[in-house]
Assembly symmetry: C2
Homo-oligomer: 335 residues x 2
Amino acid sequence: MTRRTRATTLKDVAEAAGVSISTVSRVFSTPGRISPETADRVKEVARRLRFSPNVMARSLITGTAPNVGLVVPDISNPYMTTLLKAAQKVSRSHRIGVFVADTDDDADIERHVCEQFAQQTRGVILCAPRMTASHIREIAQLVPLVLVNRVVDGLLSVYTDSRAALRELMDELVGLGHERIAYLPGPAGSWSNKQRARTVTERAKTLGVELIRLEPTAGLHADGVDAARTVLDFGVTAVMAFDDVLAAGLVEGLRRLGRSVPDDVSVTGHDDILSELVHPGLTTVTGQSSRVGQLAVARLLETPGPAETTPTESIGVKATVVRRRSVAAPDSRST
Amino acid sequence: MTRRTRATTLKDVAEAAGVSISTVSRVFSTPGRISPETADRVKEVARRLRFSPNVMARSLITGTAPNVGLVVPDISNPYMTTLLKAAQKVSRSHRIGVFVADTDDDADIERHVCEQFAQQTRGVILCAPRMTASHIREIAQLVPLVLVNRVVDGLLSVYTDSRAALRELMDELVGLGHERIAYLPGPAGSWSNKQRARTVTERAKTLGVELIRLEPTAGLHADGVDAARTVLDFGVTAVMAFDDVLAAGLVEGLRRLGRSVPDDVSVTGHDDILSELVHPGLTTVTGQSSRVGQLAVARLLETPGPAETTPTESIGVKATVVRRRSVAAPDSRST
DNA sequence: GACAAGTTGGCAAAGGTTTGCACAAATCCC
DNA sequence: GGGATTTGTGCAAACCTTTGCCAACTTGTC
């Protein structure tokens, strides 16, 4: 590994081009301020010398860095990797770097990384935070924040809105003849989980069917596997799981107990992240995480305008139902 | 969102504590240089004022930032998310931030993000790069580099060494009676793919069995599904796939063609990332990606020593075989 | 009591950029 | 053709920290 040479600075370019430092600076940061001839000459020299402005110096003086932060509870969840990819794409087109922190569902780590990122970013996209709302508000004082899949009064947020899709899904289950349906919850601290639980509970009441809320889980595949026994004990004919990971676990758990999906039990998931991997294909709800990631970055980067003009309400990205093979009429168990 | 107030600086602390700026600075950056009494007083004031040193100013003067970069071809691959988590954990313990870039298998993007990260990081961990070796060497002039799953002369690297495990796996297949085995390749640009292909080819020659190298794929699940037909056409009884994603696709493709695993065909994967999700459980090779990620960060952070003393050879993390249900004797098809 | 050695803390430069202000030259208006 | 305006460029301060060097003070030694 050869010794790295000192990077070329504005000063080097200025000397080589026979102009002052400020002129070179303005060529890049204030287009139109310098005459075309001078600008061209400077650009030429800069290119020859491979000049690239020092980010630290620039950030020090402007008080803002060309980065954003992305804080997620668990990066191994495909919903998040898809969101990350979309966020990256938008960021890259603005030449913005992306810090990523996986918090492992730990609220303390969430707070720490937000503080850490505060200095080095334009803002942080905080996904499905486990923190209390008041902690989140504190962080928001420190660094511009966009929330994902969580809504806190007065803060910007973008979330997957699957209420309509979940209602539709439940309507279909009931339409097929299911009368005892279970909801298999995700992490207790998750706002999305609360939303989904509430939505299906209310809809069940409206439709006059029985809804059984199972014990909260951590949202792991193994939790889904474990839930199979309880599901059978309750004697439900359909289960709506918090997400695809739990749903897949449940399918596996049922298989181990000698039951099959959808013949014995219908199962639905959420996020559409395991479509290809699970058999039978899961009927689920698309998370649209790409769109969510894209919007979140966009909101973050447009924030710096006059504070008054930036919209402050949250954006719900509508989810839709994806029908595959894991749902059937309850009677089909006789096949 | 309330107006964020100016951050407190060394100067503020110095004034409040009645000492000079340099004293405050030394309290934090040169422990022992300042008398305990003064140091305590300063720390107390600093805490009260919520002082945290300005990263940009510090980086500007020290010429090094408290970050590392992680560049991966595809973050949605669980091998990479596991690696990322481990890398984060180590980084966090050093209070180092992690930039992440997903390059989508694009060599140009790889180069660009490395250049972008050069200024803002201590170094970059470049995973399974698609670039040519000479491009990689160019980048290495620009920013300290640790390669993952690729070996380039003279550069530091950490990789999963699965040669022994693959030989073992093939020995087992042959021991079970398989005599025509196929290798289902991953991305053509992948160094790991070349390694694995070479390893199984050589071992097959040694054992005197026939090895069929299928067409290169992009490594997607769909590619695995598509490969099922070719596999049947070649009439092999076992397939060793580049990784678990391809293996899972192949299992699904075979199922669609009415064949089952392992009764009709034995299938092995690599990386052990889909253990729970696929049925039957895949016999595979553990990628040890956690360990790889951990070592990669460690190497990067210890680099700054006198250039001569840093070890320059590569570290191979030994992979091991994980036996599940996707392998059986070729005769068992009659069951 | 003088001198050396060690401790403690301050001054000021340096790092590379942005930007308010000033100045000079060119252009315009009547 | 002289004053007003516009255009193009430079000077120097500012952003906040680290750090080499120096000054002052304390302690120890003979």
